[in-house]
Symmetry: C2
Subunit: 298 residues, 2 copies
């Protein structure tokens, strides 16, 4: 096997551990509320690549954080990511019927259940992070809560989604698209790395190096996503492609063209990898992930 397929194997193993953790944290229940836990499980146990959890775990490993702690935060972050997808897919938002090749949550259940399952996942993420099992120090847990909430809220992911919805009626330039995507997807990717540093009480320079890596990675990730929307096979991508163009939305690809967008993503990945120099070969998984992000087909 080549280096990339070794890495993909590593990623699959990590995704399995994260899924097992999520499944344990959201047990299937009996009784009348089972519909809610069923929808929460459906939204999270869906064969995703678990890139954000991988970032949490791999960043945490740099600081020798015990695996079970990192897994809890990784699961919480994935719940936040999953809730955002459930709400984004709703008819009043992006109105998507397919996600990772399966019916979206509101199609499989119904709209009300999807709204509530998203709400419950978001709430539960903070309960998990606040729990002493995540870290013995209340200071560390509170820092994690604030970091996750900051990245996920009005000045982060939700704010970016609001900008994205409004972008359908206006045409954005590079600066505005970059800002929108930094909020909508970049900040949650960045906080994944930051969470590892917080869990490990990382010194400031290490913290900053990881943040810089994550910032570049997040943008590269988004450009790769835009490229997949233009060039990807919807069967492999697992959701409808060509959506941005159909919605008349500007993207990195519509603004830069395919070739320049691909070059830009490659440059960002190189730049991301440079930030990892202080960690020497301990950060090889993060380097592999950066390369994978722009070479994936789904």
């Amino acid at each position: 096997m080549g280096r990339l397929s070794d890495f993909q194997n590593h990623l699959v193993q990590s995704a399995k551990k994260v899924s097992d953790t999520i499944s344990r944290l959201i047990p299937a229940t009996d009784g009348p509320e089972s519909r809610l836990s069923d929808a929460m499980r459906y939204a999270t146990l869906n064969g995703g690549k678990r890139l954000r959890p991988f970032l949490v775990r791999t960043s945490a490993e740099l600081f020798d954080v015990p695996e079970d702690r990192a897994l809890r935060v990784a699961a919480a972050l994935e719940m936040i990511h999953s809730y955002s997808l459930v709400h984004d897919d709703l008819p009043a938002m992006d109105n998507d019927e397919l996600r990772r090749g399966k019916p979206t949550c509101h199609i499989e259940f119904d709209e009300a259940t999807a709204i509530l399952a998203g709400d419950a996942l978001l709430t539960y993420a903070f309960e998990i992070v606040g729990h002493p099992d995540t870290h013995p120090s209340g200071e560390v847990r509170s820092k994690l809560v604030m970091a996750l909430a900051g990245a996920a809220g009005a000045r982060g992911m939700v704010g970016g989604q609001m900008l994205d919805l409004m972008a359908e009626d206006s045409s954005l330039g590079m600066e505005q698209i970059t800002r929108l995507q930094r909020l909508k997807t970049g900040m949650l990717i960045a906080v994944a790395c930051e969470a590892g540093a917080i869990l490990g009480n990382a010194p400031d320079p290490a913290h900053h190096a990881l943040s810089a890596y994550a910032h570049d990675l997040g943008l590269a990730f988004q450009i790769a996503d835009d490229l997949l929307d233009v060039e990807g096979d919807s069967e492999i991508v697992g959701k409808k492609t060509g959506k941005d163009a159909a919605a008349g939305k500007e993207t990195f690809v519509s603004l830069l063209g395919v070739d320049q967008a691909r070059a830009q993503a490659g440059m960002l990945v190189d730049q991301a990898i440079e930030h990892l120099a202080p960690f020497e070969d301990r950060a090889d998984s993060l380097r592999d992930l950066a390369r994978f992000v722009i070479n994936r087909d789904s």
Copy 2:
């Protein structure tokens, strides 16, 4: 002025402080995201009675908690309450167009904005509670995060809302209605009192006495709400009345009848007040609130 109107005056003053705090925490913004902060402000700065914040503040006073700390938690709890109303009012949920006499959030803005504003309020509540300004101890902040998330999530408010939606297709008995309402509204009322105790590092017996008070208060509150739905004037109540009957939903009133429901609410309030005995006259505001809850007209 009589004792009750003295109390109402006290409640109005408290509500004003809470509104000022929320307004400071969610400043109006310029730029493209202003739509999101506008909707968040609309959903929270709406002339509500702020009963839950009053409970946080009054419980915290029992343990000499500095006012600014209690106000932050009170504001966060009110944001959680407000987000739940915004989402419950959505067309896919209760489909309400009027709330406190004004258009609901999705009518004033649109559905997508209402979903996002709710998400952002819920997320922000945890960011506020996790911030060192709320309490110098990270342990206390983490405990608050866990308590709020537990009460608001799948095993609390969101779970209760799921049961409520499912109740439209089935007829529930007293035990099931009591459980539904304990989850849907009781737990958030209970955590308001609990938050005061956590902020004040209250000893266990005081903590338990407050919990018992809040438990009975929550149920009395819900019965009073059901009575208002049957007997209230929609102009004064500020939302459509007669909704439960129209939806074919069982309530405390449909199961017990008006007279017995009123008697039950009175008994619960007496019981709630008894739990406050250990606090002697320091808990008079909590006693007044309990009496107010079943005598209000909106």
